[in-house]
């Protein structure tokens, strides 16, 4: 399958979405990412049983943190799909890209070291 998805999306592989931590998501935002999303296995199909379900809760926690400090919570999201759903992967990437483009660049700007 030669599916294309927006080239501005940087994929970071993890053994299981359960490995994704609140801090990873926050640090991405802190370091200037316009958005960050987690693509986990379908619910009920986690090889480690509940990694994806736990991480959905972590994603929701990060959304609440962003909301509290006045940043659009939609910049962080979680999707579930299986490794056989390449089409869906490309579709999600485009959806997320469009959503973030509509929100505009992140308001979190680090001052450039002079």
């Amino acid at each position: 399958m030669r599916l294309s998805y927006p080239s501005n999306i940087k994929v970071i592989q993890v053994p299981c979405t359960g490995r994704v931590d609140i801090l990873h998501l926050l640090n991405a935002i802190e370091n200037g990412a316009d958005g960050v999303y987690v693509a986990g296995c379908l619910e009920g199909e986690c090889h480690y049983l509940t990694g994806n379900i736990k991480t959905r809760k972590k994603v929701n926690y990060v959304k609440r943190v962003l909301q509290e400090i006045g940043i659009e919570p939609e910049r962080v999201a979680m999707f579930n799909l299986s490794s056989a759903m390449g089409l869906r992967f490309a579709e999600i990437a485009r959806e997320m890209d469009e959503k973030i483009k509509a929100l505009g660049p992140t308001p979190v700007r680090k001052k450039e070291a002079a």
């Binding site: 609140i22 962003l66 400090i69 006045g70």
Partner: protein, 222 residues
Amino acid sequence: MIVADRKSLEEILSMVKDYKNILILGCKGCVTVCNVGGVKEVEILASALRIARQKEENEINIDTNVIERQCDNEYVAQIKDSVGNYEAVVSMACGVGPQFLSEAYREQKFYPAVNTTFFGGAVAHGIWEERCAGCGTCIIHDFDGLCPVARCAKSLLHGPCGGSSKGKCEISKETTCIWDSIVSKKMEQGRLNDLLKVRAVKDWRTARDGGPRRSIREELTK
């Protein structure tokens, strides 16, 4: 253990609004166990505050540290070389922590990042409940191990009150009426008569009503 909840980010942000260089200090005691002020939570708070301040284009430098316990002077002393490097220190320990810190470092300003709530334990993953109110004279053996002082909204010693309904307390449908539980347990064990015992009025002087308390173990004092 002592249970606490983190204050809102809004409140913490307003505490540190005038500072550009702070330390967030966690504690490896109770607040680590109830996931509110340990290594992980310190880093999360630091990141959230940095993001908020970057957004306002008013960056803040935040260092983090976590000590064994903030309620022991020997551990509090471990930050003596670094505590002066900051405009303020935000403590993620229970209310004891910022007080020990303030007493040890008079010239520094300490802010509590958590609201200290109760003595209790985890009843399920991620859920903590109150069990003890530190009344200073434990009487739970009379109630089969269920504490009416901490767990009855009115601290009744001869309950239940008229507000008890279907096992719930009148204050909320989420709250167990502990007197319903006490009576049920006594019935189960065929010991309902225990509750007929007329008890002397509880002496609340050993509780907070008697003023700040102190424990002394002569064998340990120097």
